[in-house]
Point group: C2
């Protein structure tokens, strides 16, 4: 897969050695997550809203109520920034100054477009559902016309993006390696826990296979 | 503690029953996290950058290199949006439409101001460090003048904010409770894992007490 162009907008300037512009790295980070932060501005006022998403080819799709302020604004085609961040650990250096985070993040830029075609809308909703929990879509009631009528689906084609990744040990100044402070990484793990049945779940309904691994 | 005012900017309109405007709820969510998403606009282009932070009274402090594009722009006093999101679980309803997330998020609005006073700067750096890992600041080399000279500290007084919290079981349409799909919550847990010593750590240096609980 090719690289995204490096422009004034997406070029990483701080610790540029940790930056990546190739689609493979960027799409891997996007595909490993399902909550993004969507940024847009109304006049000079920025807003950031967390929301569910999926990547479909070179686009990110999000959905919500047709009366959502965010979706109504984004469907006008204004500029959007979408950021996805995974925090992997706290980097404890010998000096306060070199403390850091291990993380993988993507910052993507584009403009939104309402998805109007019904098949494409349903496919986007399916993709969002599958990105959250694979195999769930086929094990629940599909949306009916009334529900689809109050749902907006927005597609943001990724025009530019960058990833930033930091991993591994702290990097201290050469002379600080003689200091007697503990140094290393405190890893952070995000995991699914045991599924909790709805209080109203019929006792005869067994946990489906796709949830058994948790 | 008092409520933040509810305005055009911070009022939650979607699923408004999950919204909170009281400082206690908002500050608890802010204090439980250490990575925020900072949103700002240059012209009509929004940017969202993940960064470390701490809350000090009614303000959020962030830091970075004095040549950081984000900090240089924010120090001009432009509008800032800061969002903090914790994802607590996937809510599996009987209908695709009522699938949701359990989460706690804060969206805060303000404007940035460079912290110039040296004591206040050092206190902000201390607060950010303590917010990430309590007791670490006193167990590493403090920043020297050269390091402080290349570090900018920005304070954003929170003018308006809202929290949004969803918890508990799925809410399905009454007639869907008869469907035979499994329903409930798949919890998501974020935890620290066992600390990993730096490959260059002197073997004589023991794990400090504040890291032993992990």
């Amino acid at each position: 897969m090719s690289n995204f162009p490096k422009t004034e907008r997406n070029e990483v300037r701080r610790v540029a050695k940790n930056s990546k512009y190739d689609r493979q790295t960027i799409y891997e980070i996007l595909d490993e997550n399902f909550v993004c932060h969507v940024g847009f501005s109304i006049g000079e006022q920025p807003f950031i809203i967390p929301t569910l998403y999926a990547r479909i080819d070179d686009s990110i799709v999000i959905h919500g109520s047709h009366i959502s302020r965010m979706l109504k604004n984004l469907s006008k085609g204004i500029n959007v920034c979408i950021t996805v961040t995974m925090v992997d650990g706290i980097v404890l250096a010998r000096s306060a100054f070199h403390h850091s985070m291990n993380y993988r993040s993507v910052v993507a830029f584009g403009t939104g477009e309402l998805v109007e075609n019904e098949d494409e809308r349903l496919h986007a909703l399916y993709a969002i559902s599958e990105n959250i929990l694979k195999d769930r879509w086929n094990d629940c009631r599909e949306p009916n016309d009334k529900e689809l009528n109050v749902t907006s689906v927005l597609k943001i084609k990724i025009e530019e993006a960058s990833a930033k990744i930091r991993e591994g040990d702290p990097i201290d100044d050469a002379k600080d390696y003689d200091l007697s402070y503990w140094a290393g990484v405190l890893p952070i793990e995000t995991n699914f826990d045991k599924p909790i049945p709805d209080a109203k779940l019929d006792e005869g309904i067994k946990l489906p296979d796709y949830l058994k691994k948790y």
